[in-house]
Amino acid sequence: MLHREAGFYKTDYKSDMAMYPLPISRFSALGMLILFGVVAPVLMTEYYLTLLSLVAIAIVGALGLNILLGFTGQLSIGHAAFMSVGAYTAANLATKFDLPFLITLPAGGIVAALIGVIVGVPSLRIKGVYLAIATLAAQFIIEWIINHSPSISGGAQASIEVDRPTLLGWRLDGAVELYYFLLAVAIIAIVATQNLIRSRIGRAFVAIRDQDIAAEIIGISVFKYKLYAFAISSFYAGVTGVLYTYYLGIASYEQFQLGVSIDYLAMVIIGGLGSILGSIFGAFFITLLPIVIRLFMENVGSLFVEPDVLAQVISQLRQILFGVLIIVFLIVEPDGLNRLWINIRNYFRVWPFSY
């Protein structure tokens, strides 16, 4: 029986350490891989593939923020600023030094991580509200610096155009190639995060989140690991920024303003704090929400409002729904979509004998 969870005995360390210890999780991971790797590109039109590509990018960023907020418990409202650091690093390296994609991608992440460490230093002294406001300040200051240094932002429009990425001589031109590439990056990010959380570092993060003083007492250097958390989270953000840049073909600070930070916070919170699956759900949810609203309003909305104000109503409706969803999830289901999924799964686990 495929779905069985009992009766799999771990007889050696290897099976104990396995990432997917149960056949059901192995098969569902494989199933997801087939679904998104084979079925989706075959069945979907290019438009839907670009949407999935955006989701894949958002997954990387949401995982990064979840490492910081969900696993380490440090609130950051400046996630988008780190993305802009990565984006402009990659764009400058690509246009000025003509470096290939395989170098600019990690370089963007590393520079973002360095900036993230600098921003994370105040977390030694402050937490909670104060850290939130400090990262908010970082968002504005980084945005301002990029915007006002022509050597970084590339002149008056503060945007740099980049060419399509080339991977080992293979130009990622069409929607399908780009989708496969972004899917691969998202899978790497997911697996890396899963492994990070099971490692010494990840457990230290969780200890700091649950009780920082207790963590210090059992010998975790709280300061060091908080900086690790900021560095890793900013690395993910930087990579996200690089991916956005290559995806859009342009690095522009407008893509990385405060609203984007809040979008990512919403992904992590609606998805579920401290849950990798939750980040994935959140990325899907927040990325596709405006598109679903637009589809709905374009088809049904003309019954209620005049067509000429429809576009405006859509953007206002998006903001209202977005805010309502955040509040409803916070009040009704603080553990987010991940908890809903677990509830559904637990229901069917013993179905039809629910007692």
Partner: protein, 299 residues
């Protein structure tokens, strides 16, 4: 050089007047933080929605007389904030700080969508019966609305200072701020004072909406004034009323002087940036601000 100095003094006057009006907006934030420990990221949106309601009611569509529009705005903010406290904030009591911050961010989104959706998104003026002839005091140069705004700010800040020190409600509110449990044990209805704090924040936001709205016109951009709240409250201390005044003046001054003296060299935009730099410096050396209680936990 003397020209620079005169220019600087003139800017300083402008900065102080604007700063006192920032204080008024920040006061709402501090009132809520003081009583309920909640961080309100939607204070700027409160100001915006108050401005939108008042300007729409006084405007062409409804043609209320100004006093009635102001009164309706006041009633709206009071009712809205009571409902808000009841529906959104009360279930979140005792949750981690990130939940409350996110809830108020969500609220900010709702208000930003809701205001224009109901009342239309075109910018509108609020016409207060105040002349717009500039007033000149020696080296200073003000528009009357700035003076009125600064005056109202000072009056309200003094009023709230008196309220917290002398009245029964004010003392109870300070007790609630100090410890929810102890004040509950002493027979104070903690939840009622939470609601009161939100209502007071709503009243202050309505004043802010009228003043800022009559200065710069009302549309969703008015919410950006809320972003100035954070430097003000961090500089002054999150729970101090005197701190709000001092922080507001510092932010106003730094903005005015930076936009006068630094902007020509770097090409503009320092106005939005210098308060945050000052704030970061303050967070590094004195996170609880100039007048805040030293309750910061050392980590």
């Amino acid at each position: 050089m003397s020209g620079d100095l005169a220019f600087g003094i003139e800017l300083a006057g402008q900065g102080i007047a604007n700063g006192l009006m920032y204080s008024l907006v920040a006061l709402g934030f501090v009132l809520i933080y003081k009583a309920t420990d909640a961080i309100n990221f939607a204070q700027g949106e409160f100001v915006m929605i108050a401005g939108i309601v008042i300007s729409a009611l006084a405007g062409a569509a409804y043609e209320f007389p100004l006093w009635l529009a102001l009164f309706a705005g006041l009633v709206f903010m009071v009712v809205f904030n009571i409902g808000l406290e009841r529906v959104v904030l009360r279930p979140l009591i005792g949750r981690p700080i990130v939940s409350i911050i996110m809830a108020t961010i969500g609220l900010a989104f709702i208000l930003r969508g809701f205001g224009p959706m109901v009342f239309g998104s075109a910018p509108r003026p609020i016409n207060l019966p105040i002349p717009d002839v500039p007033i000149i005091f020696g080296p200073f140069f003000f528009t009357p609305i700035q003076l009125v705004g600064a005056g109202i700010s000072v009056a309200f800040l003094l009023g709230f200072g008196w309220f917290f020190l002398k009245t029964r409600w004010g003392v109870a509110m300070r007790a609630v701020a100090d410890s929810h449990q102890v004040s509950s044990a002493m027979g104070i209805n903690v939840e009622r004072y939470f609601a009161l704090a939100w209502v007071m924040a709503g009243v202050v936001a309505m004043l802010g909406g009228v003043l800022w709205g009559s200065m710069s016109g009302v549309d969703t951009q008015l919410a950006l004034v809320g972003l100035k709240v954070f430097p003000v409250v961090i500089l002054g201390g999150l729970d101090s009323i005197i701190g709000v005044v001092v922080g507001g003046v510092i932010v106003g001054l730094s903005e005015a002087l930076a936009s006068g003296f630094i902007d020509p060299y770097v090409g503009g935009g320092t106005k939005d940036f210098t308060p945050y730099v000052l704030m970061i410096i303050m967070l590094m050396i004195r996170p609880y601000g100039l007048f805040g209680r030293k309750l910061i936990e050392r980590i």
